[in-house]
Amino acid sequence: MKYAFFPGCVSRGGCPELYPATKLICEKLEIELQEMPAASCTGAGVLQEKNELLGDTLNARTFAMAEALDLPILTICSTCQGVMSQANHRLKDPEYLAKVNGYLADEGLEYKGKANPKHLLWVLIEDIGLDKLLSLITRPLAGIRMAPFYGCYIVRPTDALEFEEHPERKDALEKIIETIGATVVDFEGKTRCCGFPILTINERNSMAMVSKHTLEAKDLGADAMITPCPLCHLNLDSFQPKAAAQAGRPIGLPILHMPQAIGLAMGLSPKEMGLQRHIVNTKPLLMKIGAEASS
């Protein structure tokens, strides 16, 4: 299957390991990714605080580009997914859509309202199928206890994310964990906020969120946490040592981007998955998986 690829800013910025890991697993899954080099940032909800119309217009511009390619949009960032879904939801209003298209006309673009942006997490379940994924698993993560961390934007608000039409989205990450052979560690914090949006505003609270969720999963016996959101990853991995210092307890819980966990189970090497770029040491986890030797 072919998609218009929307990698988002963070997979090419603060989490540069995510982009190549995604490319590699998509190759194996026969998912063809067509870049959209003129697509802008979604606004991440931040721009929308200032000007929702502007944010929606930028997203409609991206949707129009994908429509011109006649391809569905695939993203690897929960925040991008959420913001695009919310924009798309508002753009269902024909009057609003016409207004937004008025701004896009100068660039020769028109959004017809047909885009259906999908996170790779949903693409795997809804378009590719878990059977296909399972057929590519050569190194099942047996014995690995994995905590799913959704964060906010891929689970709320449920109307814009079309949870009613797609009930399978509710526990999509758990299904991926099971398919790659690991055991799900269910925990309360899985759909809470990682704290990233307030990192520079109230660091103490942001770090408290990191330690709360990682320690909860760790106390339930998790070997690793898996997330579809690179922003969550930034906070939960890069800032985990700082959060541990604030909490006064060591944490040391590896946080895997969803494509990394899938790639490891497909037999790709830790290096190919960019695990050397993680701040939290992943070696004990890799030893347990039996992937350490190939790194």
């Binding site: 800013c9 963070v10 090419r12 910025g13 603060g14 989490c15 540069p16 390991e17 080099p37 003129a38 697509a39 802008s40 940032c41 606004g43 991440a44 909800g45 931040v46 721009l47 929308q48 605080e49 200032k50 000007n51 119309l53 502007l54 217009t57 930028l58 511009r61 701004y103 100068d106 660039e107 906010c152 934007y153 709320r156 608000p157 449920t158 309360e188 809470r192 906020c193 704290g195 949006p197 307030i198 520079t200 505003i201 109230n202 660091e203 103490r204 609270n205 408290a208 969120m209 709360k212 890069s238 800032f239 040592p241 700082k242 050397q276 770029r277 993680h278 701040i279």
Partner: protein, 322 residues
Amino acid sequence: MDVTLRVKRFDPEAAEPEPYWQDFTVNIEDNGTVLDALIKIREDIDGSFSLRCSCRSSICGSCAMRINGHAGLACKIQAPTAIVNGVITVEPAGNMPVVKDLVVDFDSFWDKIMEIEPYLKPEGPEPEAEYIASNESMLHLSGVTSCIMCGACVSDCTVMEVDPTFLGPAALAKAYRFTADPRDGDENGVSKDRLEELTKPSGMWDCTRCMECVTVCPKGVAPMDRIMALRDQAMAAGFTNTNGARHTEAFSESVEHSGWLDELRLVPKSVGITNLSALAGYAPIAIQALTHGKMPPIIHKKIEKAGNVRKLFDKIEGPKRH
């Protein structure tokens, strides 16, 4: 029909007061609510079981509690739709101390509502005649005045979970009810004093935008959306000397100029480039990122056709004076 409820109970007068789970199976009407089932427990099985309720019609806001992990009104949720793996899990509302079983202490909720001074505060000379607010402005407020103070948003607020000092979604939405009222504040309806107060720590900028409150509010108040509107009002009123406002501005500027996010420059711009102590606090993280190959690109390249993005900013936001 028979429904089984798994209820979190707490008796402060027990020898060792600890919360515990108890299962009850009761028979209710096929279209009965979770509240009907809970009342049935109290009336037929255990008279000591405590909960708050009154109107049974989603109007009074008394019966907010966590049902299957998320806050909601027990009287608004039909029991058959709430059964997960054979049971309905019921807990007291979160982020407030439990008094007994499903009854929580609302003191901190009301304290925060009082903290935002929930009454009109017009400035300037007393008007000579009645102030007639426009229909449009009152219609705009009708969303936020639908709040029934049930505390569902506070129960599930992810910030209050780690920081009880946060004003929280209910109080901030209530604050917006006044800042957005043309009768509040100066002659232009700008509530400068309020907005200044709300930009302080524990106020509007501490919200993480997690949308829990929007999801659980039984009345469509969308507290988070009101908090975002407060931020917009505060920035428009000139209260830009906060990390939150700087972050929004820096983010917006980055997208305007290059089409995407320049993460490397976002942090210093958010905390303030002259705020050396805060910047020094990020140094270890930056060094770690650098040594692990996680540093965002130093040269931030523009996306293709970035000029078109900038034109959209100009058209929608109005030309800037750079």
